[in-house]
Subunit: 225 residues, 4 copies
Amino acid sequence: MKLSLPGGGFVRLDAAMADDLSVINSARVSFAKESLEMTDADIGLIKFLMRERHGTPFEHNSFRFHVKCPLFVAREWFRHRIGSFNEFSARYSEVPNEFYPPARSEMRTQVGKPGSYSFEPLQDAEAAKAVESIEKAYAYAYYVYVGLLEQGVAKEQARMVLPVGMFTQFYWTVNARSLMNFLSLRTHETAQYDIRVYADAVLELAAPKMPVTFSAWEEFGRHVP
Amino acid sequence: MKLSLPGGGFVRLDAAMADDLSVINSARVSFAKESLEMTDADIGLIKFLMRERHGTPFEHNSFRFHVKCPLFVAREWFRHRIGSFNEFSARYSEVPNEFYPPARSEMRTQVGKPGSYSFEPLQDAEAAKAVESIEKAYAYAYYVYVGLLEQGVAKEQARMVLPVGMFTQFYWTVNARSLMNFLSLRTHETAQYDIRVYADAVLELAAPKMPVTFSAWEEFGRHVP
Amino acid sequence: MKLSLPGGGFVRLDAAMADDLSVINSARVSFAKESLEMTDADIGLIKFLMRERHGTPFEHNSFRFHVKCPLFVAREWFRHRIGSFNEFSARYSEVPNEFYPPARSEMRTQVGKPGSYSFEPLQDAEAAKAVESIEKAYAYAYYVYVGLLEQGVAKEQARMVLPVGMFTQFYWTVNARSLMNFLSLRTHETAQYDIRVYADAVLELAAPKMPVTFSAWEEFGRHVP
Amino acid sequence: MKLSLPGGGFVRLDAAMADDLSVINSARVSFAKESLEMTDADIGLIKFLMRERHGTPFEHNSFRFHVKCPLFVAREWFRHRIGSFNEFSARYSEVPNEFYPPARSEMRTQVGKPGSYSFEPLQDAEAAKAVESIEKAYAYAYYVYVGLLEQGVAKEQARMVLPVGMFTQFYWTVNARSLMNFLSLRTHETAQYDIRVYADAVLELAAPKMPVTFSAWEEFGRHVP
């Protein structure tokens, strides 16, 4: 299943080995017990594990995502070390002419200081001008990139001129505990808007696979267990 | 699927999200390419990745095992940090009367020095005597354990007398790259026999899920990519 | 520096590369700033990072501990995957006659159910009897162990009879963030008493190296950032 | 100690807790042995551990580096998950006008196919033209960036136009085992030249701290143990 994101990005759930029962059975192995289907007691156990931050039972599952997003979003994503990544390589392949222009309505200005600032929308005319500047910068960078390639410059060098607003794509495989850590940080209101829309899409795709788990995560404040 | 091991242990593959195609697609994302089914070129690519030790494409999959084994085997197993474990707890549950007695034919004596020793079988009469001693030690330890529990001693304290030959059980979730690292070390002739039989069982269950991958692993000397 | 623990165990801080300034400088690199010594603003920054759970700046340091403790304590310790361990091996070396007998005054009985039980001390006579049983179990196990070795049984097999109350020793190298995670769980009142005394010793040795960090950790409820 | 790199980058070893003796003592704890200074037997042991790929004893140490490098170099660096990073943030700070122009003599063209290609230098006139194009692309991107900031656009959005050739800086803390993995890959002739010079600098700074270890690493083919 694939969710489209602004400017041509997407999040696709490529495969999953994930259900709430795996949380129950890996937790109940402490008592040499096993459940064949979820009971009310099992739902209570998942809430208990989440609230008390017993995190390991949430690791016995796996989600594989295929993501296309701007490079500056990917850079924040890749800081999450518990998980696996393989990404498009601009050393090996020619980068397509695909860049992320923020929507005019999303152009914003920063108010306040680091650690406690907020954002306000830019006025329409200013926003239009800003988006136009960004698109011109993308266009010029790509023009130079193509020129370098035509000159015979190695792809791994020519890429140096490409901006972090370019699209990249990658596979990401992760378990629910690490995923909830990612989501706690990246769906939070302090996260940059442009990664937040991706994190929201990831949540929308993952949550139905483990409904009790993600509902407990919601209930206890979206903290990572 | 469940494989029985000596003395009452087992390895069961509880779930898997694993196929060779996931290796191909996470590798080919470098070139923004995708395969829908394995081709000869794809088989060649897996061999190339294995030989050149490009390991990350082997991480986009997941195996969940349920294992019952002696505690001294579990201790070596848990040293493998890239993966997830949940284990039976002798703090919370009464330990059943289940211990691992080596088969008489497996009793061995050590020849040579650490780093370069080998093993030879004990003579029959000696082996019989040794197994008998081990079983008596297990029986006495369990007798004391039960007595302590009857006295009202907390389970978490009473367990101190139980030997590392007791059986434990756990869930283990791991990707193929980390699994191949485990198998490289634990199926090796220098690994202790008693964990080697478990590693062989793990391999027997995992390999059919990713036949090209495990056959390439075999071909290039069972090194971890 | 070395702290002695009940029954012959110890925790020794073998080396450390750790100060509060490393937290500051790795955090301030976000702004391309650097501090040469701690200021009041720096103290405030550490509190902010701790409270808001910005954990990565607490990772740029390292503590190397040498620990001797009962094996059942070591088993809980080794579950902490972010860190490095090397341990005494009963495959390679003869295990010395060193076992952990709980103090009589520490013998306890369990009241309540898993997840919400508590402990009460055993009555004196009962405690004395329990300790005596435990020591007899240790003595018999060691007697059988030595007998097996004399018979020529390989060390890796003879060890199977040894109880989890035996002492082991290991080196553990860990950064402050992972250390605080260990301490949050293992100094907590729900942790088993016998590991809690070790965790307290670890804290006593580590805290003076990063006084502002550990005092902020204390102030905000001993949560891991 | 700080090594300067082309175009204004550097690698500085900020702190280290590292010596060969830590390898010896964490290995010898298997036998409950300890060394106070390196002997010939200890040198032999390090070679043995390296050759047989017993890697864990090489983890009980720590190196903290401060690095300034182009962003596309940092991106490859950050793929190494066993270690800690904190980086300059273009969300919080204004990016300085610092970009990496390859030296004219380093401009190259790619010959052959992915997996088995090689590089040849560009002819002088072509190289000069390419470097000029790159510098113009940098200048235009920075001009747009500054314009966006002057318009009031949030730093986190304005950065989208900046190229991956811009300089960034970060702290990296890592143990010798993970460091040798980084160096095996990034000093290899198949690594991109522009990260290879950084990896060489890292090696030059780290090796003197653990001379026996790094000389054994060299001797056995720069494989990670």
